[in-house]
Structure formats: structure tokens, C-alpha cells
Amino acid sequence: MSSGRKNAAPTTGAAVSVGRLDKVFDTKGGTVHALQGIDVEVAAGEFVSLIGPSGCGKSTLLRIIADLEQPTGGTVTVFGKDARRARLDQDYGIAFQQSGLLGWRTIAANIELPLELHGVGARDRHARSAELLDLVGLTEFADRFPDQLSGGMQQRVAIARSLAERPNLLLMDEPFGALDEMTRERMQTELVRICAETGAAVVFVTHSIPEAAFLSDRVVVMSPRPGRIQRVVDVDVDLGPAHERTDALREDRRFFGAVTAIREALHAGSASAGTPDGAQRITGPTGPDDRHDRLTEPA
């Protein structure tokens, strides 16, 4: 696998295609039906968010796409291959809520880790990490160690690392979940720019309604017990393609409209499931996003 290679993905056809997906966990306390009858298709270059209350299976769905977890039923293909083949071919880059940087490696060496594991030579690795450090604005931190960086910077490194092999698909599980609101908005804007530059499709798990609204072409709203798709909100109809957005949009009426649409889809889910608790968890004052939510809340 050479560093300069652009992963050979068909320009047409789906980046991710999930059909009739089921996932049951067998645990000591019984079985957990984490996902039921999930159908999702993510087009090449498209940004799709998964949103829903805790425990509705967002992470499980992402992990199944990444072949970190096996489905109990249904099919998953990534660029037309089965999930395992796609993982072995390094067709996706991945980032989690925890940056997962290796504390004993420099920032540059952390970004180069996947390249190193896949036998890319030192010169090409350094060139690529320098490029990526520039992309996430951390060039002067190349030789630092992770514990010398703030949480937001570490997360930027993790995103740079996920881009190391120029994947056409990014899988992100609440990558900004642990960041403060200001940093979070900056990172969102940066992610929009990165997506525009790389043209990668993204599957993005989040708890935050405004985050989903700002970043996504489409928002998949899920409901728990068992994890199902409640509704799919087409944000791009009103807000335009995700990769063309700018910070100004955050104060645009259309943006509030998208927030409300996602919100209502979520509430509809919890109402029909008869679990007001679920909705509480998203919009309640304990949630990380309550400040945003208040924008649309009648005062």
C-alpha cells in the first residue's frame, strides 16, 4: 500500500450500504437487541450523521460498518465489498470520542502509525504527516507528545491520523463529544473544510442536534430498544451541500429550521416508543448541548 495511492473506489455507487441489519448482544444479563432492520445507504462524498438517545445503537452500527463488530443478520458493504474486506483494504479512516493517541509517540509518529503498519517508507510517511499537520493546523507540534496538547488539539491529531491513507470514507463516533462548545464549533467548521478538500464520505455519530444539522447532508434519527431508524432528515435540501457550509450558517434561520426538524424527529421517536426519558437525555439540561437546544426552545 503506497502512501500516495488514492484508494480505488468506484465514483458511482454507495460508500456504505447497510441492508436489513440486525445485531443482538448476548450478555450475562440476557440478550440486548441493539439494532433491528437497519437500512442505510451513504453515497460517495456524502455526510451522514447518526443521532439518537444513548443506547440506541449508533456506535454499534458504526462499529459494524468498520468490521469491529459482527452483525447477527443483514448485509453491510463498503464500496461494494464486504466490511471485512474493506477493513483489510483500509478503505475507511476512523476516529472515536477518545483520541486514542499513543502517549509514547510524537504527534507526527501518531499520525504516521497507520502508514507505518502498512509498510509505507519513512520519507513518504514524513511527507504525509507534514501535509496532514498542516491541514489540521498543528505543524509546530509535530515533535511534541500527546500529553503536551489540549483535548481539542489531540482530537485534531486523531482526525489527521484517520485521513492518513486518503480514505474515501470516514467513520467518526462522537469525535467532538468531549470538547467544550467553542472548540467543538471550530472543529466542526474545520471538518467541513477537510471534507470539502478530501471529498470523503462520512458516517458521523453524534448526540448533538446542532452538530448534526451543521455537518450533515442527511441525518439518520434513531430510537432505542431495539435500535431502529426513526426517520431520515434531509438537511441539505434547505442548507445546501454539507461541504459548502460556513460558520455564518449557524446564525441563519434555515439552520434553526433544520435543528427543529431533527429535534421533532427525535421527539416523535421517543413519544411513539413511550419513553420520555430518552428525549430527556437529549434535550435535558444535563445534556452537553443544552445551550444550543435552548435556541429553539420556547423561553
Binding site: 499513543l102 502517549g103 502509525l113 503498519l117 507528545f145
Partner: protein, 252 residues
């Protein structure tokens, strides 16, 4: 550097005060030398017999060092085997637990008869087994410290078993391995020294301590004790130094 000084100064000062008090008490109360010789008397012995002390320390130190190196290598290698083989792990678990509670120096006399009473091998074996236990236990624990997010990443990168070991599992275990070696460093000296109490070839610090005591030369015996303490300290400080250097970028 200043933090090291700030941390080292209080215990050093305390030690100086204790030694001073000891000297004052021995002189003031006119305590007999076979009960407790004064620090000054011990110091006189240390300086006048320095070459013999150093020779004895080299004999004991060599045994301890050989035991430390062999025990550490075996401890790490067998922990690696245990972590990759469930069967081996279940076999060795109780054995190592048993080893940990057996007073290993008590094996010395048996080993002398096995290997012949005039070679140092028995002492090296005793030191090695004493070292093996904490290194094995700490390494095994360290090899199990990888976090789920790191394992997920490595799987996402389709890393092989050996890549996983080299880039994630071993580096994660490193602080634990060094803790084991640091504990083992002073244990190796203690084990090599105490093994000498049970007979075998003469020449080490332990044999000189017992022979000085049997000749009622208490100040002399204490000078060997001082040399033993210094030898243990050297082992410990060197191990600590290597640890601090090796882990300078690993604050976990």
C-alpha cells in the same frame, strides 16, 4: 533537577540526624560495641577495610546482577508466552503464585548440594528466581493494560499479531515491566546476599557478615552491612535511572 533535590533532601537530612543521634547516644550512654557500635567506629572499619569490602561487594553484586538479568529476561519472555497462550497462563498462574510466597533463599542449601558447594551458581539461581517473580507478575499485568480504543484502532488498521505486540501491547506494558525490574533490583541483592548465609563458597558480603559476627567483631560486621546497603542502593538507583530515562515520554 530542583524537584529531585527537593524530594531527596528531607530523607537525607533525616538520615543525617538519625546517624548523629545514634553517635551521641552510643557515646553518651557508653553502649557496648557488641550491642551497637557507633557510626564513627563503623566508618573507621569501612575506610580501613575498603578494598576487602569492595571485593566482597563485587562477588555478591556479580551474583545479584547475573540473577537480575537472567530473571528479568525469563520473567518477560514467560509473561509474553502466558499472555498469548491461555493454557500456559492457567498452568503457570498458580505456580508463580506459589513461587511468590516460598522463601526462595531457603532453597540455597539444597542448591549447594545440587551444584557443588564451591560455585556461585546456587546464589545466582536464588537471585534469579527472586527476580523472576515480580518481573513476571508485573509484565503479565502490563501486557493486559491495552485500552479498548487502542485495540479498536489496531484492528481497524488490520494490524497483525506481531505488529500489535510491537506497537501497542509491549509499549503499554513498559511502565509495568520497569516497575517489576525496579522492585527486583534490590531483591536480587538481598537474595544473593542472604543465600550466602547458608554456606557455600566464601568471599561475598553475606559470608563476611556471618564470619565477623561469629568472631564477635561487630563493628566489622556492621561495615559489611553498610556495604550491603550501598550495593542494594546502587542497584536500585541504576534501575530507577534507566526507568526514568526509558519512560520520559510515557506518563500513564
Amino acid at each position: 533537577m530542583s524537584t529531585i533535590a527537593r524530594r531527596a533532601l528531607p530523607p537525607l537530612a533525616l538520615g543525617a540526624v538519625v546517624i548523629l543521634l545514634w553517635q551521641v547516644l552510643v557515646v553518651a550512654l557508653d553502649i557496648n560495641a557488641y550491642v551497637l557500635p557507633s557510626p564513627a567506629a563503623i566508618l573507621t572499619q569501612v575506610t580501613s577495610y575498603a578494598p576487602i569490602l569492595i571485593g566482597a561487594a563485587i562477588v555478591t553484586g556479580t551474583n545479584a546482577l547475573i540473577g537480575l538479568v537472567v530473571g528479568t529476561v525469563l520473567g518477560i519472555v514467560l509473561a509474553l508466552v502466558a499472555v498469548s497462550s491461555r493454557v500456559f497462563d492457567e498452568l503457570t498462574g498458580p505456580l508463580v503464585a506459589a513461587l511468590a510466597v516460598i522463601p526462595i533463599v531457603a532453597l540455597a542449601p539444597v542448591l549447594y548440594t545440587m551444584y557443588g558447594a564451591d560455585v556461585q551458581l546456587a546464589r545466582q539461581v536464588v537471585a534469579g528466581v527472586s527476580v523472576f517473580v515480580p518481573v513476571f507478575i508485573n509484565t503479565l499485568r502490563g501486557l493486559r493494560q491495552t485500552t479498548p480504543v487502542h485495540r479498536d484502532l489496531m484492528r481497524a488498521y488490520a494490524a497483525g499479531r506481531w505488529q500489535m505486540m510491537r506497537t501497542l501491547t509491549l509499549p503499554t506494558a513498559r511502565p509495568f515491566i520497569f516497575t517489576g525490574v525496579r522492585i527486583a533490583s534490590s531483591l536480587s541483592v538481598i537474595a544473593a546476599l542472604v543465600a550466602e548465609y547458608f554456606g557455600g563458597p566464601r568471599g561475598g558480603l553475606g559470608t563476611f557478615i556471618t564470619s565477623s559476627v561469629s568472631q564477635s567483631d561487630y563493628a566489622r560486621a556492621w561495615s559489611y552491612v553498610v556495604a550491603s546497603i550501598l550495593l542494594g542502593l546502587i542497584f536500585y538507583v541504576v534501575a530507577l535511572g534507566i526507568e526514568v530515562f526509558a519512560l520520559r515520554h510515557q506518563r500513564t
